[in-house]
Amino acid sequence: MSIWDELTGQSEAIAVFRAAAGDPAFSDRDAAASPSHPEGSMTHSWLITGPPGSGRSNLAFAFATALLSPGDPEGDAAARRQVEARTHPDLGVLSTERVIISIDEVRSLVTSSQFSPSVARYRVMIIEDADRMTERTSNVLLKALEEPPPRTVWILCAPSEADLIPTVRSRVRSVRLRIPAVADVAELIARRDGVDLALATRAARESQSHIGMAHRLATNEQARVRRERTLDAALGIRTVSDAVLAAGALLEAAADDAKSITEERDAEERESALRSLGVEPGGTIPPALRAQLRSLEEDQKRRATRSLRDGLDRIMVDLLSLYRDILLVQLGSDVEPINLAVIDRVRAAAASASPAQTLATLDAIATARRRIGNNVSPALALEAMLITARRAPS
């Protein structure tokens, strides 16, 4: 099995990377260019862009495996295992569970990019979520991206080129991923997770081809119920009072969701930190060590913020899909709706409002997403959003 097999519906991008990984001109300057690997298909800085869930990071790691495997662009087993565990000595990865990537993290990555590879053909530096760098942080990268040491390769991942500053954009070769087709995602989910194709198709459609979300919806009953409740809550809003209560409920659901993900890990991390500091369980923490634990707690808090925001964003993407469907019905379009499972309620909702109202709600959802990104209180942003979703009872 090749490293490229798990990536769904991205054949063009895969072809580009395959050719690059096999390019002899870059790794071995003396070898002649072979016809299957034309010279110049490899470069030192790459940017992978594509919608969330299209497999940007997976593709980045597949490419990294190919580059780190000695001589084999299809990836050998040892390199693959090490990349999967993120322990390969020539691989530097920067991914974040916070809202932004800090400048110090990037600085240390830039420093380590200057070393020559120890065992592999290349040293590979990957920045997932490169869009989470502020402008000041991005500037630290410029020199390293423009002229890395001969055998260092940078791979950045971001949702779109517009998320990066122009000076970074001009220093990388960009590879765009597309949204995989619903059928492709459904087929992957059905094959990998062993669920039946009808459920997989529904999950793929409702997640709008986001592979990670589709996997979650297909395998987690609770996630499906939560999604249905979100849509119900939005469709049931008649008054301002309803809107405020619904906003509270959505926020609570997102917070619970975020907490269930982070709480367990927080406790585990704390325990392992205490163990490595030599504090016995239940013992008091010496004052000199408190600063370390405090910095751990601050990191965990940042992760919780990010986790809550991601949860809210998922909710709002679900609501966007709902109002998109309502608008499609109102305009009499024959594009396939996303929320086929509740199509009757979508039709009823379409009859009780005008297309202008639906468009206003769609705008409000987009505004709320932007506001939450800008640190506006999530409760307030959601309330203002749902107030535009009030509809007279049909």
């Binding site: 009072s241 209560l245 506001r371 800008n374 640190n375 307030l380 107030i387």
Partner: protein, 335 residues
């Protein structure tokens, strides 16, 4: 003298402090504690002008310090030992002061300042239990307006000056936050004017100064008093309030009103349903008078927009706040 008294020691207010071999000054109000300690020093000075005053920082205590300062001197002067930061004291301080309390030196007045907290509890319990025959001066924060009024009256009475009731009211309203500021204002008035202190004099010195908070601005705006709300907003901003909590105060008020607006039932039932106190529900019901459904909707939309503006989307947070006050005090009507 030691350990002959009953289990509990006298607890006095800051103004009633008197010499004792151990004076524990407890409570969070730093200003009053300082007052009490300096008052005690003045009393001791008038008793014997050769008083020796020394200071110890309990959080940075080196063993033996207490015994050095407290032991009798060659000429037998009385000694006052002021210990600060007992709430952060070292273990050595606790053990040595406990040993000292067993047999206090004669003619030595030990003053311990403890600003609250559990650190040094053993020592406090021993003193409160009567060890060393001390007294405790309790300096709690003056939270109520009536306490502040009493404070102001006692300030003027101590200086032997007359003050009108209206003047006291104006002073307490102008300095609602910090007791030290209030005391400084009293001193200023005492030293600058020779006749009776009237409201006109307070007005002359501190006219137009009103301390307010975000919730008062929100209450006034929601009640529809537009001009007053704008003035209060400016006062709040001028006396150090941040725009972000002001928006949050508006949001929490309007959120409760919106929840209550659609609900039927008694205050008690609603309180249980929304997880709020019954008085909050009653308050929200009263606030809702004159508000319409559309008005609430517009009010909440403008709050979300203002929150975004004050958090960096707009260039002028003050303008955004004023626009918010305009819309809210018009009960959501467009102007």
């Amino acid at each position: 003298m030691a350990a002959t008294r009953g289990a509990a020691i006298p607890q006095l207010s800051w103004g009633a402090v008197r010499p004792a071999s151990v004076v524990l000054v407890s409570g969070t109000e730093e200003f009053l504690a300082e007052r009490a300690i300096s008052l005690l020093r003045d009393i001791l000075r008038t008793e014997d002008s050769s008083l020796e005053v020394s200071d110890i920082a309990a959080d940075d205590y080196s063993p033996g310090e207490l015994a050095t300062f407290a032991s009798p001197s060659l000429f037998g002067e009385p000694r006052m030992v002021r210990v600060s930061g007992v709430e952060k004291c070292t273990d050595a301080f606790i053990s040595e002061s406990l040993a000292y309390l067993e047999s206090p030196a004669s003619d030595c007045y030990l003053v311990l300042r403890h600003a609250g907290g559990v650190r040094g509890k053993k020592l406090l319990d021993a003193i409160r239990g009567g060890l060393g025959g001390g007294i405790e001066v309790v300096c709690t924060e003056l939270k109520k307006d009536s306490d502040r009024t009493d404070f102001v009256l006692s300030e003027f009475r101590a200086a032997g000056r007359k003050v009108t009731a209206a003047a006291v009211r104006a002073l307490v309203a102008a300095f609602a936050d910090d007791i030290a500021e209030l005391a400084a204002a009293c001193r200023q008035l005492l030293s600058d004017s020779s006749e009776e202190i009237t409201e006109a004099i307070v007005e002359k010195y501190y006219s137009g100064r009103v301390e307010t908070n975000a919730f008062r601005v929100a209450d006034t705006a929601i009640a529809g008093r537009h001009g007053e709300a704008l003035v209060l907003l400016r006062h709040a901003l001028a006396s150090g309030a941040d725009p972000v909590p002001i928006v949050a105060a508006f949001a929490s008020k309007l959120r409760t009103m919106a929840k209550v607006s659609g609900a039927r039932g008694s205050s008690g039932q609603l309180a249980g349903q929304f997880g709020m106190a019954p008085w909050q529900i009653d308050r929200a019901k009263r606030d809702l008078q004159g508000w319409t459904e559309e008005g609430l909707a517009r009010g909440i939309s403008i709050l979300a927009d203002t929150d975004a503006q004050v958090k960096g989307e707009g260039r002028d947070p003050i303008f955004a706040l004023e626009r918010m006050v305009n819309v809210v005090s018009a009960r959501g009507d467009e102007r």
